[in-house]
Symmetry: C2
Subunit: 361 residues, 2 copies
């Protein structure tokens, strides 16, 4: 087992990474917890619910399961309210602990429920998708979607622990592995050039879930995310670089309807668009842009953005949280392994978006 | 104008208290605000919306008004969502500032919206009821209700400023003045015996809105609340004493349906019940219990709790957030001006609740 420590003003907590962590969940339940609510979805609940609850039972606490419908389409208030209904009808108090057993949607919703239930109860992240293991379970961003934008309603709220069982990836569809790998290579692109190179060399091994490759990729991703988050919990500066490809990606997800593309797929494609924008604005060499595109393709993500129409692209990006006073800001790459956030000239952006329209969908 | 400073880990901010503060709201808008959303209800909006917006216009910022239906019955997710709808459809970004113009319901909802919108934007409290001026606008508790309990979903989230215009109390119904005064005398009861004595001497002047008496009562209440909150922002200890009468009060509000009794009325009556419980458990002298009852009556609040039936009383109090591991805890008074939080014997509680059943409703 590897342990990565996250240190933020909002909380210090360990990320435990290794095979079989699902059977050790009781380790993360504090002595004074009055009850445990396992928040999961119908798919993950069927696969791992009983095993997780069996492991948690070793804590001796009362255990409640709250099962939500599966998918990004349900990351809304109605579904969030099912958590509150379950907690309140079972009379869980302020010392209860929530356990988010699932992917990014479950982690985000359970985290926001934990942040809001009785103004804050403790929670443990148990991410069961690669995307959640390397990204959303670490750093304390929680949220639900609003019809007018993704993750618009939420909180910065840190878990008390993250338990990553790398074995559970075996039951993940290959499309979700690819989507998770998009966030893995993102860390290389923004902050760790040698890790980007490593990802290029190990793309096939990662897709095939080679245990050593996966273990290294998850640990390194968590380390890099923890590093960024510890320096800037509330995204006032540095943390924004984690959004590489996300302004484009959110527009894709929202424009096609949440759930059509997986979040990681949209981010993978969005990183190519961000690289193209970096070429225009900062002179990122074409060879590097090509490498980004090649690696996104090698991990199995789509490389051609959908043709949403120029105006719709612009409208969708405008509502993204990364606007400030109306000006769109992007994470750009001056070089592979370096990132900065800045406004861009309108014509450069239009030129990149025109490529989405030009190619066949 | 008086200024009381609040210092918490979650934020430092001033409370400005005085006549005419409504015309000085621009003072509290930061330079870098990109827009202002005034969140109010239909009643307060009609009375003070234009004046507040006129004052805010001096900041030179774009101003949006979001008007919610009036009343505790609307302190729910559907109404909260109207705020998000308004903010998103007008594309307000992370640097927007919300202004809560109204009573406790507006303050709690606007505060929770500010805590959650894009994971947190700044907000200013402009409380227009006495209750909100002396209690809910200070200290950063925000929330909405759930069908299974009051204030069950929310956040600890501090405003950047509180602007208290004591003139606006002139348009407040006398019943709401009485309800607000219940929270004023609460501070005396829990932490400031001389202030309790002062309230006894000035009950009539306070009900008549004598400017000097009101000004002193508001300032002293804010000072005492700021003192408590600065020592314990997240209610892990001391802050709980602010809930004197609230476990009973919440049961009254919830049992009769939110909005039947005003929050302050329920708390006023609940403080008498808490005093009776203190007499049984801690030996608070009968003469002091009588003084509490007499002062609650003198400020114009009901002194006879409704007959909800013993079991329903117990059920309603059980869901209150102040339970821990199933045991009900109460704020009790060892003496007037002192408070402590502790579990109570079941028979003492039943004895106090029997009084609610025994007397005519």
């Amino acid at each position: 087992m590897n342990t990565v420590q996250v240190e933020t003003p909002g909380g210090h907590y360990p990320i435990h990474i290794g095979p079989g962590r699902l059977d050790a969940l009781a380790d993360s339940i504090p002595e004074d917890a009055t009850a445990i609510a396992v928040v999961t979805n119908t798919v993950v609940g069927r696969l791992y619910g009983e095993r997780a609850e069996g492991a948690l039972a070793r804590s001796g606490k009362r255990i409640l399961r709250i099962e939500l419908p599966d998918g990004e389409a349900h990351k809304d208030w109605q579904t969030l309210n099912l958590i509150f209904d379950g907690l309140l009808s079972s009379r869980l108090d302020r010392k209860a602990v929530l356990v988010a057993l699932g992917g990014g949607v479950i982690g985000d919703m359970c985290g926001f429920a934990a942040a809001s239930y009785m103004r804050g109860v403790r929670f443990v992240q148990v991410p069961t998708t690669l995307l959640a293991q390397v990204d959303s379970s670490v750093g304390g961003k929680t949220a639900i979607n609003h019809p007018l934008g993704k993750n618009m309603i939420g909180a910065f709220y840190q878990p008390i622990a993250v338990e990553i069982d790398t074995d559970v990836l075996d039951t993940l569809p290959s499309r979700e592995i690819s989507a998770g790998l998009a966030e893995v290579i993102k860390y290389g692109l923004i902050i760790d050039r040698p890790f980007f190179d490593w990802c290029e060399d190990n793309a096939a091994a990662l897709r095939a879930l080679d245990p050593d490759a996966v273990s290294h990729a998850v640990r390194r991703s968590c380390e890099l995310k923890a590093l960024v988050v510890s320096r800037d919990e509330r995204e006032s500066g540095l943390r924004a670089i984690l959004n590489l490809g996300h302004t484009f990606g959110h527009a894709i997800e929202s424009g096609l309807g949440y759930g059509t593309w997986l979040h990681g797929e949209a981010v993978g494609c969005g990183m190519i668009q961000a690289a193209l924008l970096s070429a225009l604005v900062l002179g990122l060499p074409d060879a590097d842009t090509a490498r980004v595109r090649a690696l996104v393709q090698a991990i199995g993500c789509p490389v051609q953005p959908p043709d949403l129409g120029l105006q719709r692209w612009l409208d969708l990006m405008q509502v993204d949280k990364k606007t400030e006073g109306g000006q769109l800001r992007f994470v750009l790459l001056p070089a592979l392994g370096e990132a900065r956030v800045q406004g861009v000239p309108d014509d450069a952006l239009r030129q990149v978006l025109a490529l989405a329209a030009a190619a066949p969908a």
